[in-house]
Symmetry: D3
Subunit: 203 residues, 6 copies
């Protein structure tokens, strides 16, 4: 799949001949983004793995949910910040900037979500994701109840948990393989937003 | 899907009408195990989520790999032990007992793999999985190099990482939702093995 | 003392000639259990150490107390789970199964007591034992007060503390010496209990 | 000092009348940066505190040293990444981008320096700063010796220690007061560098 | 600067010719204490560093503040206890003994402030300092609010934060350089106080 | 047992009538120390508990061993320093001062043994005790092997482990009950030793 640079520190052999749906997916990435995200290229040595990853990631991040797509990206970045995952902070930091049109919100999620000026509901969501990342064994009914009190349905709680859990997986695959982000992400949505848009405290 | 008991602490609404492949999968579980694993029932409110989970889990645990199926279950249990995940320790503890025919090996993985009498290669594999679970940000080339020196190929390293990462996800979904294991797992392969089989130190 | 297998990784010389009370104690173990627990054999190179250990362990686990013998075993296993002590999880996991006639309760204590369906009083007891294990420096009057509010007397609190403290010792001696549990423990009380007995959530 | 926005969550009263050297310093900031860094404004209620902070910070970051100014900024960001300090990651992340002309290097320091393609000497420097941040009590002669073997003089080691220590202070003052970075930092040196410049692995 | 013994493990070259104010400061130390604190001698290879350190330390510990000088020393010792800094525990442990005329209070701060019989206000102050030391990223508005409720002004909170932050720096410089306390500190204010003076619980 | 002050925060009822051996033991304490250590008084509500504690403590700290009595006290203090146990740091800190005639060595063990100028053998001993305290699950054969290489026999390793384990128990009982040290300990062996005696680095 194009390019000379290594995508990870592992040599898993050459890429598989992509299945038609996977090839179509890569083509759509090229069309929309101008590149294929390296996480997909990292799986491209095996069609079954690539297919399963795309199916799960797209369901979690793009399917209908009580959580907005921006909120799901915020969870992704907060989990990745705790795990210090360079790949995911780069790719999903860019996604927060893009979905919020607020570059500063992206930085806040990368650095420390507690410094952001969030609604109590979003704060509760990210507190749960952070605890689930740092101390999964300590989650109790009180933690779920706090989400319900903040206004989330049980179905929403499932989605918060599933997204946070997924990036705990993805962060670890990226760190284990030294996965390298496409350089383009660094430069996306870096221009200052129009005055109204800031969601950070710093207004 | 059968039974009255709640599978998790969340009420995500009633189960979806299963897609034909998912229905067939559940039927196969009933046939082979006598029950449908609760992790699958936990996803059954949504066919897309269920499908993606099955595809990823089966690829990781059952597809061709340089790691044996037992080794992949050992990784699953070691990760779940660190994360103190009751669901996964119950289900995959049973799987280690079953695939090894060694109930004591199952207990060793649940308790502390460092107490088991493992080959240096398997020890290196589990050390990597443990570090990736506890301190993913600290993984460095030296950690991958230790696996290569122990005899693993880069492709094997990918699989070790992917399995360990997957259970870091699965543990967190289970803990976040208070997922409850099927009771049957507790009672599988608990009889003492024939004298030769022990892989633990205690022989 | 019987057998060829090493009980720990240390060679502390041959066993002492047991004092009459220690010899009688070993004989009673053989009669009741069919074996001498390896923790006792690990101390058998020195009668004074063995005597002191038996005196303290038996007082804590068997003497009159506001805590039931099962509750004391539950504390032992919860502490050992946090410390990942293979010896104690094996021996005292069996004891929980035996005293409760509930194999699943044993597994719950080994895996994560927070997944068990406990009374608020027992939950408070185990929360205290867990905090005392993980962060003894952070115990404050509020922690003792929580136990009093849950219904414990000061004398009960002493016993909770003493049992939890003792297994923090025992876990460390076992881990430091690679103490190996008698294989028999793995196979005790593994049969499914009669329907009524479950104390876990999974009913 | 200009502006309506609060610089921290604390109301420490109105700014002092700046001493002539402090006023001159603020004027120089306005001239060179177009703004006064909020950390200075946070101290502006008290001339003595402001003077002492400026003296120490400028000595550490700008005085002669065996470490380049970029290296000192790299240490600042690595420490701040571990401590998840939004203020310092924003301000010193911008400084790394500026001094290196490499926006990607800035992101690598913010995310996880272990993902960067550093010289062994710089890697050793940041490993020491990270350990000093996370586990100061565990520093031993072997850690200093590792720096000497990497090519640092004792005087350099003092500077590595002093810079890392200083940001462990500054991070805590910023977190304790909810110090808010000037928004301008987010937008500095975000343009893609000319092809040659990358210091990251991703080239 | 006098003496044969090494002050740190680093050889930073010979001491600078002290600037007149620094020389006067050293002379004042000799006069009042009978020795120059080794932390000052550790900076004496460079006048600018020494000047900046003295200015910041003296402002924090001696300038007007809503916190008493004893309270600031208590914070210094509590932070140093968490960081296990031998230099600062020795020097500032002596300072707590001296400013309180209560040797036992000094020991309590060195060992664990939670064992001391403090006012709720002082307890809140030290709880904040401890959290800021251990988990700076987790400080939130609720932590500042707890200090306000305990009776502190925002200006006091700044001072609590600044002192705690400063010793997080100083501890790390001392540990990084193996800074060695003047032996005199060990022997200062060790005599038992008159009956009334105890501030510890042990009365 | 003498005095008005509470020994712990728990009211376990009035002291038992001491058995003759326990009464004799208390009398011997009065004769030798001038007081009964509060840890003994804390157990005095129950003769069986008191007897068992004395038997175990005296065997560990006073019986024949390859470790000197001072070395055993050093382990006690290092473990208690990690666990921040005020009672044990006070009582056993005094014991190190007494057995070494070196007040500074006592402080070094209380603060951070890594700052002391120990022989490689004693350093290895304390490194093992520290790891066993902080991360018992991570002890491996390599840790025992390091002790053997440092010159310890397997029997010595048992004693290092047993003493470190015992203070992990004792620290937790003291913290759980808010055990308060006899004030006398603070003032024992505080005078400066004759010039030759220092075992610390600070000579």
């Amino acid at each position: 799949m194009a390019g000379k640079e290594k995508v990870t520190a592992l040599n898993c052999g050459k890429d598989a001949e992509l299945s038609p749906p996977n090839a179509a997916y890569f083509a759509k990435c090229m069309e929309k983004l101008g590149f294929v995200p390296n996480v997909l290229r990292a799986y491209a040595f095996d069609n079954a793995k690539l297919t399963a990853f795309i199916a799960m990631a797209d369901d979690l991040m793009l399917a209908d949910s009580g959580l907005s797509k921006l909120e799901r990206e915020m969870i992704a970045v907060v989990v990745s910040s705790i795990n210090h995952c360079h790949y995911c902070l780069t790719a999903h930091g860019a996604a927060v900037r893009q979905r919020s049109s607020d570059p500063e919100l992206g930085e806040l999620m990368v650095h420390n979500y507690r410094a952001a000026d969030l609604s109590p509901k979003q704060k509760a969501m990210l507190d749960f994701a952070a605890k689930l990342t740092e101390a999964p064994a300590a989650i109790e009914e009180a933690d779920r109840e706090a989400l319900r009190k903040a206004g989330f349905t049980d179905r929403d709680i499932f989605d918060i948990a599933a997204v946070a859990a997924f990036y705990n997986m993805s962060n670890r695959l990226a760190s284990a393989t030294d996965m390298r982000p496409n350089r383009e992400y660094h430069y996306m949505v870096r221009e200052r937003a129009a005055p109204k848009a800031s969601k950070g405290k710093r207004g």
